[in-house]
């Protein structure tokens, strides 16, 4: 607890009254007969890091996957409620899921670069979305994305080598570069550091902090230190419910909800 408090004091200050990027109202998700989310209402502020915490199976990853409709790929998943991106309902019939996912990118738990070259990994997104009209533009996007992901210095002389040959932390940053190459507005991260060692984790966390300048980030994490270090807003999930949401500093120092308090003090989860 003290540990987290110490982290908080060094952490970024919460900026009040940011515009809202994504809104969800009463989001209910069923996997077949099992209800995974019981009506989540949450606002995600623009250009801030929102951390979703909670014990395993509480629905935080499910909620994250609703935001860019990755749950569509699961046949049994049924989503109800409303999710708005800049006021537009992402589940509206006229919304194209391809375009949505270009605007709301995703980074997964395990680094999953394509078994192709580093260059092809980053250039794939811009290519399918027609963001570059010639080789120079494409090169430019790839280089910028790798720079933004803090990977440029390490890989600039071996862009033709397979992305799978990088270390775990580099692979995860490559996946982040790949996600930002399509110029998303929101980046969803599903436990992006759970497969990384502490040093790689620190690098990725710094990166997340930098990315906050330009992107709205939603991150699911099991590490409360991580949530405290990188996020400005924290949402605590419990058994499919949103237990509490508030500025990270407040959640970790003075939570209103008993469950949050128990969880962050390590009494369960």
């Amino acid at each position: 607890m003290e540990n987290i408090q110490a982290t908080l004091h060094k952490g970024p200050a919460v900026e009040a009254s940011r515009p809202i990027k994504m809104t969800s109202r009463d989001v209910i998700v069923h996997y077949g007969a099992k209800q995974a989310l019981n009506g989540i209402t949450l606002d995600i502020p623009e250009r801030q890091v929102t951390a979703l915490i909670g014990p395993s199976g509480c629905g935080k990853s499910t909620y994250l996957r609703c935001l860019n409709r990755m749950n569509d790929t699961i046949d049994s998943a049924k989503v109800r409620g409303q999710i708005l991106l800049d006021g537009e309902d992402v589940y509206a019939p006229d919304i194209d899921v391809v375009e949505l996912r270009a605007r709301v990118g995703m980074v997964f738990q395990k680094p999953n670069p394509f078994p192709k070259s580093i260059y092809e990994n980053v250039s794939y997104g811009p290519k399918i979305h027609g963001l570059a009209h010639n080789k120079q533009e494409l090169d430019e996007i790839v280089h910028t994305s790798l720079r933004k992901a803090g990977l440029w210095r390490e890989v600039h002389d071996r862009l033709d080598e397979p992305g799978t040959g990088l270390s775990g932390g580099q692979q995860q940053r490559l996946c982040i570069a790949r996600a930002i190459a399509v110029s998303p507005e929101v980046i969803l991260m599903d436990e992006p550091c759970s497969a990384l060692d502490p040093i790689a984790t620190a690098t990725v966390e710094e990166l997340i902090d930098e990315l906050r300048e330009n992107y709205t980030i939603v991150i699911v994490t099991h590490s409360m230190q991580q949530a405290a270090r990188v996020s400005q807003l924290t949402a605590m999930f419990h058994l499919g419910d949103l237990a509490e949401v508030g500025p990270t500093e407040k959640i970790f120092s003075n939570p209103d909800d008993k469950r949050t308090q128990d969880y962050i003090t390590g009494r369960f989860g």
């Binding site: 790929t73 996912r101 995703m106 997104g125």
Partner: protein
């Protein structure tokens, strides 16, 4: 039980070792026994394989050599007509009595009196009557040969060939063997003159069906088989891969697709002769395609190969980690783009391996071809897949029915050729897999 546990804990606490009654010796003995069973099973399997190979190779390797006799042939104008006549009309050349040329040459070589009918016929029995085609080809290719005398290597008759390969017991009395004493004398004479030789049997690879063993080969059958393999590849690969991609990546999981899946798996186990009946009923009787055609054979084998390719392709698609699909979808790739840009290339080695194995299976298939009339005596190369043709395994089947000694070795020889093709295909499947295999 709980008492025992409590005692155990108490014992440990008191510093005494808990007694574990787990029968270590028994466990190890069971393990050793099981290993021994495995080794015995493998040994039995291997010994059968060795026996099979030994039987085929020991019988078949001689088929790759063929006895030939060097005969000075006088291409006389009496028999062939003059070169000028030949230029005008080839009818005479086509109809000429070439065996007479060969007979005359041999009689001269052996110094036999041409009026001694018995001796002449004995000598004539040493050379193949298939010389007609060989000599005609020489003359037709080069008319200037007419009127000259040239040494030509002619196929020996299959009796002489078999005798020299030691396949006949020559010590039995004359009337009970196909080679007479007089012929044995001639053979000795030829051997002394160095006019008889075992040469590599190219004819085995280039000739078609023949009632004479020495001029029979698998060339035509190989072409028929190649046609069918081509048709199978062109049809079964795209259809099979498309079906698998749809079933694996796009189709909703419901009772209907379950039913399809079960049926595909069952199709792989349907006896191949049933596919032959289907081919006969559908392709020949209904569509009116010609009998004995490689096209029909290829279509039937395609039906037979499809389940194999579909099962292999689906397994290969399923082996692509879901994280790759998630990565592509998360970037905003459509389902189609995800499959064709990422999943399919990664599954390709598995698909190709499955396809090659399916092709190898089709190459060795005989039963369905018998039903669509490909068990035919085809001496000429099929120029299109619609011409009558035969296939390698069917040729083997037909030769296996021949009684002559020379056909026995050729049957084994053809099996060796077929096994060679299968080995090449399987090795290329393994190489492909090694070359493109990826690990995650």
């Amino acid at each position: 039980m709980s008492d025992a546990t409590a005692n155990g804990i108490a014992d440990t606490a008191a510093g005494r070792k808990p007694r574990r009654d787990i029968g270590i010796k028994k466990r190890y003995a069971a393990e050793r026994r099981f290993k021994a069973y495995g080794i015995i099973a493998i040994a039995i399997g291997l010994s059968f394989l060795v026996m099979l190979m030994w039987s085929i190779f020991s019988k078949g390797y001689t088929a790759f050599w063929q006895t030939e006799i060097r005969v000075p042939i006088t291409f006389s104008e009496e028999v062939l007509g003059t070169a000028e006549q030949a230029n005008e009309s080839q009818t005479k050349l086509l109809m000429a009595n070439y065996p007479q040329l060969a007979r005359d040459g041999l009689v001269q070589l052996l110094g036999i009196n041409p009026d001694d009918k018995k001796a002449v016929s004995a000598a004539n029995g040493l050379i193949s009557s298939g010389t007609r085609v060989a000599l005609r080809d020489i003359v037709m290719n080069d008319l200037s040969v007419i009127g000259r005398t040239e040494d030509v290597w002619l196929y020996a008759s299959s009796e002489l060939d078999s005798a020299l390969k030691g396949q006949y017991d020559l010590s039995v009395e004359e009337s009970r063997r196909p080679i007479s004493d007089l012929q044995l004398q001639y053979i000795q004479k030829l051997q002394q003159a160095g006019a008889i030789e075992q040469r590599f049997n190219w004819g085995l690879f280039t000739s078609g069906a023949s009632s004479r063993a020495e001029t029979a080969g698998v060339g035509v059958a190989i072409i028929g088989s190649l046609y069918m393999m081509g048709i199978v590849l062109v049809l079964a690969l795209p259809i099979g891969v498309a079906a698998s991609i749809y079933l694996e990546e796009f189709a909703p999981k419901n009772r209907f697709t379950d039913l399809i899946e079960v049926n595909i798996n069952n199709l792989a186990a349907v006896p191949s002769i049933v596919f032959g009946l289907l081919g006969l009923a559908v392709f020949i009787n209904w569509f009116g395609l010609p009998r004995s055609a490689a096209l029909v054979g290829g279509l039937v084998l395609t039906l037979m190969t499809l389940p194999t390719i579909i099962i292999a392709t689906r397994a290969a698609l399923r082996a692509v980690p879901p994280s790759i699909r998630a990565a592509a979808l998360g970037l905003g790739a459509s389902k189609n783009q995800t499959v064709f840009h990422h999943v399919l290339p990664l599954a390709m080695p598995g698909i190709l391996t499955g396809t090659i194995i399916g092709l190898a299976q089709a190459l060795g298939e005989t039963a369905p071809l018998l039903l669509i009339g490909m068990v035919a005596f085809v001496a000429d190369y099929p120029s299109t897949p619609l011409d009558p043709s035969t296939a390698l395994p069917v040729q083997i089947y037909m030769w296996a029915n021949e009684a002559e000694r020379a056909f026995v070795e050729r049957t084994s020889g053809a099996i060796i050729i077929l096994l060679g093709f299968l080995a090449i295909m399987n090795v290329s499947a393994i190489l492909l897999r090694r070359r493109f295999e990826r690990r995650w």
